[in-house]
C-alpha cells in the first residue's frame, strides 16, 4: 500500500499526523522482530492498514493486506495498534514471545471516524453541523424490508412512524418535526450522491454501508431548495482495498398478528344483547333475531380474524467484495419474500447492486454503480374508511353473519331483513381479499458513473452522471363476485384500473475540490455545478363491465370509463451552483460556509432562482490546555450553525393557468369537446424558505466510555407553499401561493455508553427529542386552514385536532334543560358539548362555531433506546422506541360505535347511557332518538374521538451466537434469532397500532394537515425469524 494514499482519506491522514508527532522524539533500543496479525472483533476478519507503533519511538508500520505486521521491538516496549473505527489497543511485548494475535474492538462512537456529509466526507470531530450516522451492519438483523423501518428508535430528532402494516409501505419520516402545509415532510434521500426521485422503499437495505442524517441547515444547505425537510445520505457498499470476501446472510421466519391490544368488538351474544336493548329502549318490538341473545353462544363469526394469517418472511443476501490492484468490486444480490398477515397479500423484491471502482492511474479513478431491482406485490384493499378498506368493513360486520354457508363455501354477501336494522348488504370480505387483484410491479434501475481526476495533490475534479429509471405498473381488478365497497349486491360490476408510470431522471454533477494546509491552517474549498431533470409519463385506464372475471384486460371490458382514463406527463428541471469552504486551525477551531443557488422549473418566471447560504463553526475545547489535562473529559466540542434551506415540493406547472380540455358536454346524445381554465397562474410563485439556527455540544467522558450529543434548534419556515382557498365566486377553488410562517424549535439528546467491558460487554445508545412548533402567520385574511378533523391556526401548533368539546352526556331532564343544546337534536343521554362561544346553543361550523382544539396528533417527545450485549460468543440486542403525548383521532368510531346499531359495535358501547339511573361509563350516549340524536355524536367531529396514543414499543430483540470459523471455507459465521415488534406498551384501545395515520382511501397517511387519523388499517405484525451470517 502506498502511504501517499492516506491523503485520500483525511481520517487516515490525521492519524498519521498524530502518530508522527507522538513518535518524533523516541530512540531505538534492543529489539527483536515481532510479527503478528490484527483481527477485528466479532467477525474475526483480518484488518489491513492498521497503524502499529512502538510507543515512545519512531518505529512503526502498518498491517498488510492480510492484516499481518512485522516490527522491531524490545520486550517491555508497548505496541500501539490503531485504526479508524476501532478502539486503539496497547500491547506490551513479552520476552520470548515474538508472534501475536491482536483483536481490535470496534468503536462506533469513535471521534476519529469519518462521516459522510453532503458532497464529501469529513472527520467526525471536525463536523460543525448536526449530523448522525448509523452503520449498515447495525441494521442487518432486523427482519424488515424497508430502511426506514430499520431506523426506528435510532435517531435523535427523527420521528419514524409505521402508519400501516402493509408490506413494503406506510413509513412516515419527519426530521425535527418539519412539515409544510402542502409540501410533504419526507426528507431528501441521497443515494451515493444522487438525490433520488423514486421511493426509498425500493432500495435494498442490505446494500447499505452507512446512513447519515443531516439535520441542521449547515449540513443540508448544499441541497438547497429540497433540503428543508432534512437530508438522508445513503452510501452503498464498495469494495475495500485489499480484501476479498464472500458472505451469505439470510433469515427466514413467520409473522403473526398478536392477540393483545386488538380492538375489542362485540361478539354475537353481546351484539344481539345490544340490539335487543336498542329496540326495547326505543319502545319498539324486538326482532325475532335478537330476542334471545344467548342463542348465539359460541356462534360468533370473527370477520377480522378470518382475514388474518400466519405469514412467512425470508431474506437471502449474497455479497462478494473483491479487490485487485486496479479494481475494487462489490456485488450484493438479495431476494426478499414476504407474505402479509392479511390473506392474499405478498411482497417480493429482487435486487442486485454492482459497485465497481477502477483506478486508471494514480490520478484518475473511474467508478460505476448499477442497481436494478424488481418489486412485485399484491395487497388487498385492506386500508381505508368504511366501504373502501376491507379491514374496516370486516371489524364492524355483524358477528352473526355467516362467513361460510352450510356447504362450507364462502358466502357472497349477507343481508338481514329490514326490521333488524340491517340497512347495508355486507359482501363477504374474505372473498374480497381473495378475489380482488390489487397488485403493483416496480422495476427500478439506479445507476451512477463517476470520474475522479486529481491533477495535483491538492486538487480533485469529479464528474458524475446519475440516472434513475423507474417503471410502476399497477392493476386493481374487482371481479363481479367480490367488492371492497359496502352495500353492494353480488354480482357487482366488474371493474379494473391500471396505471403505468415510467419515470426517468438524470443528474450531472461537476465538482472541484481544493485542499490546502499550511502551518496549522487547513482549508478545503468545494465548487460545483449540477443539472437535474425528471420526467414521468403516466397512463391510467379505467374500465368496467367484464364478460369474464378471469380476463381483466382492457379489451375484455365492455366499457372504458373515459372520465378516469388519462395520460399525463410531469417534468421538472433544476440547475444549481454550489460552493463550500471548510477551514480549521489545528483541528480545533472549525469553520464552514456553504452556499447553493437553485434554479427550478417549478417556480414562477418572475422568481426562478433561490440562494441558500449557511455558516457554521465549532470549537474542540478538549484540545485546549485547560481541558486536555482532565481525566474525565476526553472530548468536548461546541458548535453552532445558521443557514437557509428550501422546499420545492409544490408539484409542476402550478405557476401556469391551465386549461382543462376535458370539460366535455353532450347535446342530443352526442358528446362535444369542452375546455375551461381550471387554475390561476402565479408568476411569482417560489420555494418555501426555512431559516435554521442550531447549537450543539459533543461530549466524551471517561475515555469516551460515555458519549453525549445535545442539539437545540430553532427554525422559521416562511413562504409556505400553499394552495390557498379562495372564494369560489371566482370560479376557482384555490390559488398557489407562498404564505405564512411556522416556527419550529426543539431539543435533542443522544447518549452512547459502554457500560461494561471485558467478557460481558454492554453498550447503550439512547436518544430523546422534544419538538415544538407554532404557526406564526398564514395568508392575509386567512387565520386558519382545515384538515380532515384538524385545524392549522395562527398562534397554535400545526395540524391540531379540531371539533366540539365533549363535556359528558345530558344526565337527566334537569341537566338537559339547564345546558346548551343542539337545537332539535339533544335529548337526555345524548352527547353534551361545551358551548365555546357562549351563545346558549351548540353549533358546528359557520359564524357561531363551538369547535375548539381538542387534541394533538404530534408527540411531546419521542425517544429510542438500543442495548447491545455480548458475552463470549453470544450477543443480544434490544431496540425500543417510544412516543409520549401524541393523540389519535379514532375515526372508525363513527361506524364502530354507531349507536343506531347499523354495524357491529366496539365492546365498550355495551356500557353506554341507557337511562339516568344507568348512565354507563360516560363514553357513549343514548341510542334513543335514532340518527337525529345519535348523528350528533357520530357525525360531528368531537373530543370523544380523541384518545391518548403514547406508546413504548420493543421494536426488536435479537440473540446471536458466534460459531466462528469452520472447515477451510468458512472464515466466520453467526446464527441468530430475532423478534420484530415484540410488544407495544400503550393505553390506546382503538387498534393495535398507535403509530397509525391514514386517509379515507387508505392510500397514504393523510398528509401534514391531517395526521393521526385511525381508520383501522393493516396490522403491524410480530415477526419471528432465524438467521445466519456466513463469511467465506
Amino acid at each position: 500500500m502506498n502511504p501517499n494514499d492516506y491523503r485520500v482519506w483525511p481520517g487516515r491522514m490525521f492519524f498519521f499526523a498524530l502518530a508522527f508527532i507522538v513518535s518524533a522524539h523516541s530512540a531505538w533500543a534492543q529489539t527483536a522482530n515481532i510479527t503478528g496479525v490484527v483481527r477485528s472483533e466479532g467477525d474475526m476478519e483480518t484488518i489491513p492498514g492498521v497503524s502499529v507503533l512502538v510507543k515512545g519511538t519512531t518505529r512503526g508500520t502498518v498491517t498488510d493486506l492480510d492484516g499481518a505486521f512485522q516490527v522491531e521491538a524490545a520486550p517491555g516496549e508497548v505496541l500501539s495498534f490503531s485504526y479508524i473505527g476501532y478502539t486503539a489497543k496497547d500491547l506490551t511485548v513479552q520476552s520470548g514471545q515474538t508472534s501475536y494475535e491482536v483483536v481490535l474492538e470496534s468503536s462506533m462512537g469513535d471521534l476519529t471516524e469519518v462521516v459522510v456529509i453532503g458532497y464529501g466526507t469529513q472527520l467526525k470531530r471536525e463536523v460543525t453541523g448536526a449530523v448522525q450516522s448509523v452503520d449498515g451492519s447495525e441494521l442487518m438483523d432486523l427482519p424488515v424490508p424497508q430502511i426506514t423501518q430499520k431506523l426506528q428508535g435510532r435517531l435523535a430528532g427523527v420521528q419514524i412512524n409505521q402508519t400501516t402494516g402493509q408490506p413494503g409501505r406506510g413509513m412516515s419520516v419527519r426530521i425535527r418535526g418539519q412539515f409544510s402545509i402542502s409540501g410533504g415532510s419526507d426528507p431528501l434521500y441521497v443515494v451515493d450522491g444522487f438525490p433520488i426521485t423514486g421511493d426509498i422503499s425500493t432500495i435494498n437495505p442490505d446494500e447499505i454501508e452507512d446512513i447519515t442524517v443531516l439535520k441542521d441547515a449547515a449540513s443540508t444547505s448544499l441541497y438547497g431548495s429540497r433540503a428543508a425537510n432534512g437530508v438522508v445520505l445513503i452510501t452503498t457498499k464498495r469494495g475495500k482495498e485489499g480484501r476479498t470476501s464472500v458472505s451469505l446472510n439470510m433469515y427466514t421466519g413467520f409473522q403473526q398478528v398478536p392477540h393483545y391490544n386488538r380492538l375489542e368488538m362485540m361478539d354475537a351474544v353481546e351484539f344481539a344483547q345490544f340490539k335487543k336493548e336498542y329496540f326495547e329502549d326505543a319502545g319498539m318490538a324486538v326482532p325475532e333475531m335478537f330476542r334471545n341473545p344467548s342463542m348465539y353462544e359460541g356462534q360468533t363469526q370473527d370477520w377480522y380474524d378470518a382475514l388474518l394469517q400466519t405469514a412467512p418472511i425470508s431474506n437471502y443476501t449474497l455479497s462478494v467484495t473483491s479487490s485487485t490492484e486496479r479494481m475494487n468490486t462489490s456485488v450484493v444480490a438479495t431476494f426478499f419474500d414476504q407474505d402479509g398477515v392479511v390473506i392474499n397479500s405478498d411482497y417480493k423484491r429482487y435486487s442486485l447492486r454492482l459497485n465497481t471502482d477502477y483506478k486508471i492511474s494514480d490520478q484518475i479513478n473511474l467508478g460505476f454503480n448499477l442497481a436494478p431491482s424488481y418489486i412485485a406485490d399484491n395487497i388487498p384493499r385492506s386500508d381505508g374508511t368504511r366501504g373502501q378498506g376491507i379491514l374496516f368493513n370486516a371489524i364492524h360486520t355483524w358477528p352473526n353473519m355467516p362467513i361460510y354457508d352450510d356447504n362450507g363455501e364462502l358466502t357472497y354477501y349477507n343481508r338481514f331483513p329490514g326490521e333488524t336494522g340491517n340497512i347495508f348488504a355486507y359482501p363477504n370480505w374474505v372473498r374480497s381479499a381473495q378475489e380482488i387483484i390489487n397488485e403493483t410491479k416496480i422495476t427500478n434501475l439506479l445507476s451512477n458513473v463517476f470520474l475522479e481526476y486529481r491533477p495535483h495533490k491538492n486538487l480533485m475534479i469529479k464528474t458524475t452522471f446519475n440516472a434513475e429509471l423507474n417503471a410502476r405498473n399497477f392493476l386493481t381488478f374487482n371481479p363481479s363476485t367480490a367488492t371492497s365497497g359496502m352495500n353492494q349486491a353480488i354480482p357487482t360490476v366488474a371493474a379494473s384500473l391500471r396505471e403505468n408510470a415510467t419515470d426517468f431522471g438524470w443528474l450531472n454533477e461537476n465538482l472541484i475540490t481544493y485542499t490546502k494546509s499550511f502551518e496549522d491552517h487547513n482549508f478545503e474549498l468545494l465548487g460545483g455545478y449540477t443539472n437535474q431533470y425528471f420526467r414521468r409519463d403516466l397512463t391510467r385506464v379505467s374500465a368496467n363491465t367484464y364478460a369474464d372475471d378471469r380476463l381483466p384486460t382492457i379489451q375484455g371490458a365492455i366499457n372504458i370509463n373515459r372520465g378516469a382514463t388519462i395520460n399525463d406527463v410531469q417534468e421538472w428541471s433544476l440547475t444549481s451552483l454550489l460552493s463550500r469552504l471548510n477551514y480549521n486551525y489545528k483541528g480545533k477551531y472549525l469553520f464552514t460556509a456553504a452556499v447553493r443557488g437553485d434554479g427550478s422549473s417549478r417556480f414562477g418566471l418572475e422568481n426562478q432562482w433561490g440562494i441558500f447560504p449557511s455558516v457554521s463553526a465549532g470549537w474542540v475545547m478538549s484540545d485546549e490546555n485547560f481541558l486536555n489535562t482532565s481525566e474525565k473529559v476526553s472530548f468536548m466540542k461546541i458548535r453552532g450553525s445558521y443557514g437557509v434551506t428550501g422546499n420545492n415540493n409544490i408539484g409542476n406547472y402550478t405557476q401556469y393557468a391551465l386549461v382543462n380540455n376535458t370539460v366535455n358536454h353532450v347535446f342530443n346524445n352526442t358528446v362535444v369537446p369542452g375546455a375551461a381554465v381550471n387554475s390561476l397562474a402565479n408568476p411569482f410563485l417560489g420555494w418555501e424558505t426555512t431559516n435554521q439556527f442550531d447549537v450543539g455540544l459533543d461530549l466524551g467522558l471517561f475515555d469516551d466510555r460515555i458519549q453525549f450529543v445535545y442539539d437545540y434548534f430553532n427554525k422559521n419556515t416562511t413562504n409556505l407553499l400553499y394552495n390557498v382557498q379562495i372564494p369560489q365566486e371566482s370560479g376557482f377553488g384555490s390559488f398557489n401561493d407562498n404564505i405564512g410562517e411556522i416556527r419550529f424549535w426543539g431539543h435533542e439528546f443522544a447518549i452512547n455508553t459502554r457500560n461494561t467491558d471485558g467478557k460481558f460487554k454492554w453498550t447503550t445508545n439512547a436518544n430523546i427529542s422534544f419538538n415544538r412548533n407554532r404557526v406564526e402567520a398564514l395568508a392575509e385574511g386567512i387565520d386558519r386552514v382545515y384538515g380532515s378533523f384538524h385545524i392549522t391556526q395562527v398562534g397554535q401548533p400545526f395540524g391540531m385536532f379540531y371539533g366540539l368539546v365533549k363535556e359528558g352526556n345530558y344526565m337527566n331532564e334537569e341537566d338537559l334543560a339547564n345546558s346548551p343544546q343542539v337545537p332539535g337534536r339533544s335529548t337526555v343521554g345524548s352527547i353534551k358539548f361545551k358551548d365555546v362561544n357562549g351563545d346558549g346553543i351548540i353549533t358546528i361550523g359557520g359564524d357561531n362555531d363551538d369547535r375548539a382544539i381538542i387534541g394533538n396528533p404530534f408527540p411531546k417527545f419521542t425517544y429510542g433506546i438500543v442495548n447491545n450485549f455480548q458475552y463470549g460468543k453470544f450477543d443480544m440486542s434490544i431496540t425500543g422506541s417510544g412516543s409520549y403525548g401524541n393523540e389519535v383521532y379514532m375515526r372508525h368510531l363513527f361506524s364502530t360505535a354507531n349507536l343506531d346499531g347499523v354495524f357491529n359495535m366496539v365492546r365498550r358501547a355495551a356500557d353506554r347511557f341507557r337511562s339516568p339511573e344507568n348512565p354507563g361509563e360516560g363514553i357513549f350516549g343514548t341510542t334513543v332518538g335514532g340518527g337525529n340524536v345519535t348523528g350528533v355524536e357520530r357525525d360531528w367531529a368531537n373530543s370523544n374521538f380523541v384518545w391518548d396514543a403514547s406508546f413504548f414499543s420493543i421494536k426488536n430483540l435479537t440473540i446471536g451466537y458466534n460459531l466462528g470459523a469452520f472447515t477451510k471455507f468458512v472464515q466466520s459465521s453467526r446464527v441468530y434469532a430475532s423478534i420484530q415488534n415484540l410488544y407495544v406498551f400503550t393505553n390506546y384501545w382503538g387498534g393495535q397500532n398507535p403509530e397509525v395515520s391514514m386517509q379515507n382511501n387508505g392510500q397514504g397517511d393523510g398528509g401534514n394537515l391531517s395526521q393521526g387519523v385511525d381508520l383501522f388499517g393493516f396490522p403491524v405484525p410480530r415477526t419471528f425469524t432465524f438467521g445466519a451470517n456466513i463469511n467465506f
Binding site: T575, V659, V666, N668, G674, S730, G731, F735, T934, D939
Partner: protein, 501 residues
C-alpha cells in the same frame, strides 16, 4: 491529463449555457396564454359552460326547490341518520345564523352557478379580440349570455344578494367581490337574457339541445313574471307561441325524455342534456328519488337494469300525499307522474311508497341513465302566457291557453271565470302540470304564498307523521319548520374566506 481537464471544463459549459432548461411548459395541458385563439377554442369554451348544469340539475336543484315545497318530502328511515342536511332542507330546519348556513347543498349550488359564470366571463371578455365568422361568434356569445343569465337568475332567487362577477378572475385579489343588490342582479340577468334573445338563432337554426332564441325569450319571460312585468312577459311569450317552433305533445306521458330517445322534442324549449354510458355524462337523479332502503328486486322493475344494486339511506324527493291529492279526478297526469313501490326493508307498517314516475325510464346499468331534464317546456310557456294575460285583466284569453294544457291532460275546460278564480286555476294547474320539475318552490316565492302554504303543510304533516312516511312512533324533529324563509342564507364555507359576508 490536460485533455481530460479540458473535457470536464467544457462539459460544465455545455450544461450551463441553457436557460431554456428551466422553462418547462405542460405537455398534456393547454394554458390560458395559448388558448382562446380560434373559433374552435371558443366553441369548446361555451360547451364547457353548459357542463355545470348537469350537476346542478342532477344533484342540487330538486333539493333546494322541489323538496323545499309541499310537493315532495324527505322520507325518514330512522335506522339511518347520516344525511340530515337533506332533511334540513325538506323540513325547513336549516341551521342559520347571521345570514350564513353550513348546509352543503346550498354551498354546492352557489359554487356551481359561479362556475358557469366564470366560464362565460372568460368567453365574453376575450371573444371579440379574435376574428372569426360573425354568425358563429354571435351564436357562441348568445349561448354565453343565456347561461350567465340563467346562473344569476338562480343566484338572485336563491340568495337575493350575491357577488356580481362579469370579468374573469386572474389574481387572488380579484376573487372576492362585495354583495350586489337584488336589483343589480336582476338588471344583469335581464341584460344578459336580452342579449341572448338578440344573438341566438331560433330552434330550427340552432344545434339541437343548445340554447335558442326561444329559450332565451322564455328565460326572460320567467324573469318578468317574477317581477310582475306582465306586459313585457306577454310579448315574449307570444313571440314564442307565434314562432311555430313548439307544440304540445298529445300524450302527457310522452313528453319526458327516455334514456336516449325522445330528447329535445317539439315540446321542449330548453333541457339539460345527459348521456347514458361510460363517458361520465350520465344522470342519476332517478336513484336519488327512490325511497330507501330498497332491494335490487324492488328496484329492478323501475330501472330495468341488469345489475341492480341495493340503495341504502333515506328517501329523497318522495311525493307528498298533498301533491297526489292535487290532481283532479280524471287527470291523466297523475298516473304518468307518480307510481308506487313496496319496500320490504321499511320500518313502516304500510310499506308502500310513492315515487316520481315521470322521469323513471328503463336503462341498462345501475346508477347510469341518460334522461334529459326539462328546464322549460312549451306547456309552461302556455301557462305563463295565461297568467300574464290574466294578471292584466284578460282572463278570457288566458283561459284559451290554460285549457290547451288541461285538455291535453284529459281534463275539461277550466270553470274559472273571475280574475281571482283564474289566478288560482293557473296556480293549481302549474303545480300538477309541472310537478317535480322544480317549479313549485319559485311559484310559491314569486307569488309570496310560501309562508302560508308551507305553514299549512307543516301543520298537516306534523299532525300525522305516519302519512308522511315516518314509521310508527317516530315524528318530525322538534325544530322542523322553524326556519321558513324565502331565500337561502349564504354558504358558510364561502363566508369564511370572503371579507364581504
Amino acid at each position: 491529463m490536460k485533455k481530460i481537464t479540458i473535457t470536464l471544463i467544457s462539459l460544465i459549459f455545455v450544461f450551463s449555457s441553457c436557460d431554456d432548461f428551466l422553462i418547462i411548459t405542460p405537455e398534456t395541458s393547454l394554458s390560458s396564454a395559448t388558448f382562446f385563439q380560434t373559433e374552435s377554442d371558443f366553441q369548446q369554451a361555451v360547451n364547457a359552460a353548459y357542463a355545470p348544469m348537469r350537476n346542478i340539475v342532477n344533484d342540487r336543484m330538486w333539493l333546494l326547490t322541489e323538496m323545499r315545497s309541499d310537493n315532495t318530502i324527505y322520507a325518514r328511515n330512522i335506522l339511518f341518520g347520516a344525511t340530515e342536511q337533506q332533511e334540513d332542507l325538506s323540513d325547513h330546519a336549516l341551521p342559520e345564523a347571521d345570514g350564513i348556513t353550513t348546509n352543503v347543498h346550498v354551498l354546492n349550488q352557489y359554487r356551481l352557478d359561479y362556475l358557469i359564470i366564470a366560464r362565460v366571463n372568460q368567453i365574453l371578455t376575450t371573444i371579440d379580440d379574435v376574428e372569426f365568422d360573425q354568425a358563429s361568434k354571435n351564436n357562441i356569445k348568445g349561448q354565453a349570455h343565456f347561461l350567465r343569465a340563467y346562473a344569476y337568475y338562480e343566484l338572485v332567487r336563491y340568495f337575493r344578494n350575491a357577488p356580481l362577477h362579469l370579468t374573469p378572475v386572474t389574481t387572488r385579489e380579484q376573487a372576492a367581490l362585495p354583495l350586489s343588490s337584488e336589483a343589480e342582479l336582476y338588471a344583469q340577468v335581464i341584460s344578459d337574457a336580452q342579449q341572448a334573445v338578440q344573438l341566438l338563432p331560433n330552434r330550427s337554426a340552432q344545434g339541437i339541445g343548445r340554447a335558442t332564441s326561444g329559450a332565451a325569450r322564455m328565460l326572460l319571460a320567467d324573469v318578468y313574471m317574477t317581477q310582475k312585468r306582465w306586459a313585457e312577459a306577454e310579448t315574449l311569450l307570444k313571440d314564442i307561441v307565434n314562432s311555430g317552433q313548439y307544440q304540445l305533445i298529445p300524450e302527457y306521458a310522452d313528453v319526458f325524455s327516455e334514456t336516449s330517445a325522445n330528447k329535445n322534442n317539439i315540446e321542449s324549449v330548453f333541457e339539460v342534456q345527459y348521456l347514458e354510458g361510460p363517458e361520465g355524462m350520465h344522470s342519476t337523479f332517478l336513484y336519488n328519488f327512490m325511497p330507501r332502503p330498497i332491494s335490487p328486486a324492488e328496484l329492478r322493475p323501475i330501472t330495468g337494469t341488469s345489475n341492480t344494486q341495493p340503495l341504502d339511506g333515506q328517501g329523497n324527493n318522495i311525493p307528498t300525499p298533498d301533491i297526489i291529492e292535487a290532481y283532479e279526478q280524471g287527470d291523466e297526469r297523475l298516473e304518468a307522474s307518480i307510481a308506487y313501490v313496496e319496500i320490504a326493508g321499511s320500518l313502516r307498517e304500510n310499506k308502500e311508497y310513492p315515487y316520481i314516475k315521470k322521469f323513471a325510464k328503463h336503462h341498462s346499468l345501475h346508477g347510469n341513465h341518460g334522461m334529459n331534464w326539462p328546464i322549460y317546456r312549451y306547456a309552461e310557456v302556455l301557462l305563463f302566457l295565461a297568467e300574464a294575460l290574466n294578471e292584466q285583466g284578460n282572463s278570457g284569453e288566458a283561459a284559451t291557453y290554460l285549457n290547451m294544457v288541461r285538455n291535453r291532460a284529459g281534463l275539461a275546460n277550466s270553470t274559472a271565470s273571475s280574475q281571482d278564480e283564474m289566478r288560482e286555476a293557473i296556480f293549481r294547474e302549474r303545480r300538477v302540470e309541472l310537478a317535480f320539475e322544480n317549479k313549485r318552490w319559485f311559484d310559491l316565492t314569486r307569488t309570496d304564498r310560501y309562508m302560508q302554504v308551507i305553514s299549512d303543510f307543516a301543520e298537516r304533516a306534523k299532525s300525522d307523521p305516519m302519512r308522511y312516511y315516518y314509521p310508527a312512533g317516530a315524528t318530525f324533529r322538534n325544530h322542523a319548520f322553524t326556519n321558513i324563509t324565502k331565500h337561502y342564507a349564504l354558504p358558510a364555507a364561502e363566508a369564511e374566506i370572503t371579507p364581504h359576508f
